[in-house]
Amino acid sequence: MVQPVLDVVGLKKSFDDIHAVRGVSFHIDPGETYGLLGPNGAGKTTTISMASGLLESDAGTVNIYGEPMTTKTLDPKAKVGLVPQDIAIYPDLTARENLRFFGKLYAMNKEALKTRVDEVLEVIGLSDRADDRADEFSGGMKRRLNIGIGLLHGPRLLILDEPTVGVDPQSRNAILESVERLSDEGLAVLYTTHYMEEAERLCDRVGIIDQGEIKAEGTRRELLRMVGKADRVRIAVSGGSHNVAESLRALPGVTDASAADGMVELIAGDAGEVLADVLRLVTDAGASVMSVAVDEPDLEAVFLHLTGKALRD
């Protein structure tokens, strides 16, 4: 069995009478991108604050590669790169100086640090602005530097807390591409967001969190299946489709089908898996396919189903 990069078990945290986190458990395997999806105030930031050793938990454990993570332990912290939600850089230092300072705190030696700073500047696209002060940067560039600092020391786990909040679409896409690239390179990532589309795009598995609890967890498909959500396929046809509905219903993965007035409709757990067979049956029945539309339910629907409210409520 592979040892998880991050293993969170029964985490609890209260602030006076407010129970911010109520028994959260999840794990992240090497190379996996795990998303915590929930609205503002769901407990995402409190959870990752405990996961990164910034905050002591009231109960539960956090382990990084089997080593307990607390506010006092140092070794596990060296394996984690944190990218906080708010931009946490020194505006009066240059990009290079910011990176170099944090690299020194992670005890990187001089030569390795110099090389790594150049690498990270390249990764975050700031090589040509390396010696400019951070307060001269655009919001997107500051965001990228914010991520670069988290990457600098070569962490085994990168924790990103809503890194695209308040970012313009272009910078947002650049950030998402960076995370995808890092994930492809095998870095384990814990990504919190309240943007459903980001979680769907980036995450191998998603934990739906609300009111300090993980309501459900799994791959996107698992979550959709868990709550009974399926794809709706609509095929516009001309001629010969009236007898096809019964054959379609017999296909594995198709739960319902109907055909009338030049339109074939069916419900499938995963449209992608059955679409080829569906189209073959329709054309075999003598119909010509004019167009195909697939409506996939999303995590927004899952969240609504699980919590009774929308993600942005």
């Binding site: 910034l54 912290k77 705190l105 005890a107």
Partner: protein, 392 residues
């Protein structure tokens, strides 16, 4: 430790970058030195015009010079500046100065008049009380003026003075006419149970310490600023102990504080002729007082939740301790205020410099140890409080 140094170097770099280190460490001390020079550089003659000071006199001379000096003192007494008390012998006079019965005592040694009239050297000694620096300075100044008159005059002028042919007010004019003459009367070293600082040095030192409180306050306010800006969370997420963060911030204040003090000492020495005393002794006291002040400001800042709160609290404490410690008005004599002043690093620093003036480096040890004690106690409390503030 290396993390603390890294943080301190980063902070210093930021202070250089935003120029605050130049303002706090160089421009402000120099500006203060110039202001001090303008205020105190011309002497100390204005001080005490509206107050009455208790000064004793022991006339064991019994001759005409002693008598003339007594006449001068009585004239000054008539003007209301001093209240004169006579003592029979040196022992009684010294005891009166020691206990604070009077702020200072003039000792006119036996045979003073005979020696001067014979053209030989003689000494007029001033004994000051440790807690009465102003009185001691004024007494010293009176003695200096009398000595100047005697030195500038010749025996004939002095004799004329003694015989009553001329008044004391005419002494300098007679002396000018007579030209310079060999020194006849010298002022014995101003003595006190603890030696006194000259006024310029006293006020420069006092105000420097007062100024130091605001530099030292940076240690906590900088940390609270980092918490507000989110960078403290990043520091805490790094594999370093919270103590390194507090240590780094304190180290920054200590370095800037020491630089500022050195600049102020050098500037006041050359611009104002301030006499700080033995460099080694001054160095000990400066290091100790900077550590004590950084510790106190860390402790005070530990009660604050924001940088603004910390700044306000620290300002109140800085002004209060400066007033209690005699920075603005020297605290003389005995009593509650004098005792209370001893809880302040300001008073101990000034006392240490006073002990050092004309003394040896060993004389600063009591003040040095007290200041280090303050640093240790306040630092321990401060670190406990501030470590709680080192959180996201």
């Amino acid at each position: 430790m290396s993390a603390a140094v890294t943080i301190a170097l980063k902070d210093l770099s930021q202070r250089v970058r935003d120029r605050s280190v130049f303002i706090i460490g160089i421009v402000a001390p120099l500006a203060l030195a110039f202001i001090f020079n303008a205020i105190f550089g011309g002497g100390f003659s204005d001080v005490g015009q509206n107050i009455t000071l208790d000064i004793g006199v022991v006339d064991e001379d019994g001759g005409p010079i002693g008598g003339a000096f007594g006449d001068i003192l009585r004239e000054i007494e008539a003007d209301g500046l001093i209240e004169l008390v006579s003592y029979d012998d040196e022992e009684a006079g010294r005891a009166a100065a020691e206990t604070g019965e009077v702020g200072a005592v003039f000792l006119l040694e036996p045979g003073l008049s005979d020696a001067i009239l014979a053209g030989a050297n003689a000494a007029l000694t001033v004994v000051g009380n440790v807690d009465a620096p102003t009185t001691t300075q004024i007494a010293s100044s009176i003695a200096e003026q009398f000595s100047l008159g005697v030195r500038r005059g010749n025996t004939a002028a002095v004799a004329a003075l003694i015989s009553g042919a001329i008044g004391t007010n005419d002494l300098e004019a007679v002396a000018r006419e007579a030209g310079t003459a060999p020194s006849a009367l010298t002022i014995g070293t101003v003595e006190a149970a603890t030696r006194q600082l000259d006024p310029s040095t006293y006020f420069v030192a006092g105000l420097s310490v007062f100024f130091m409180f605001f530099i030292a306050g940076l240690s906590v306010t900088s940390m609270l600023d980092e918490r507000r800006d989110g960078t403290l969370g990043r520091l805490l997420a790094a594999p370093i102990s919270p103590s390194s963060i507090v240590g780094g911030k304190s180290l920054t204040s200590v370095v800037i504080g020491l630089v500022a003090m050195v600049i102020l000492i050098i500037a006041s020495t050359f611009l104002m002729g301030a006499d700080w005393g033995s460099p080694a002794g001054v160095a000990l006291l400066v290091v100790a007082v900077v550590l004590a002040i950084v510790a106190i400001m860390t402790m005070v800042g530990g009660f604050a939740k924001t940088a603004e709160q910390a700044g306000n609290l620290q300002s109140i404490v800085a002004v209060t301790l400066a007033m209690l410690g005699g920075t603005f008005v020297p605290i003389s004599g005995e009593g509650f205020l004098a005792d209370l002043s001893l809880v302040t690093p300001n008073a101990w620093f000034l006392r240490g410099l006073g002990d050092l003036a004309g003394g040896s480096i060993g004389d600063v040890l009591p003040a040095f140890l007290v200041l280090i004690g303050i640093a240790v106690v306040a630092g321990a409390i401060g670190l406990t409080l501030v470590r709680k503030a080192v959180r996201v």
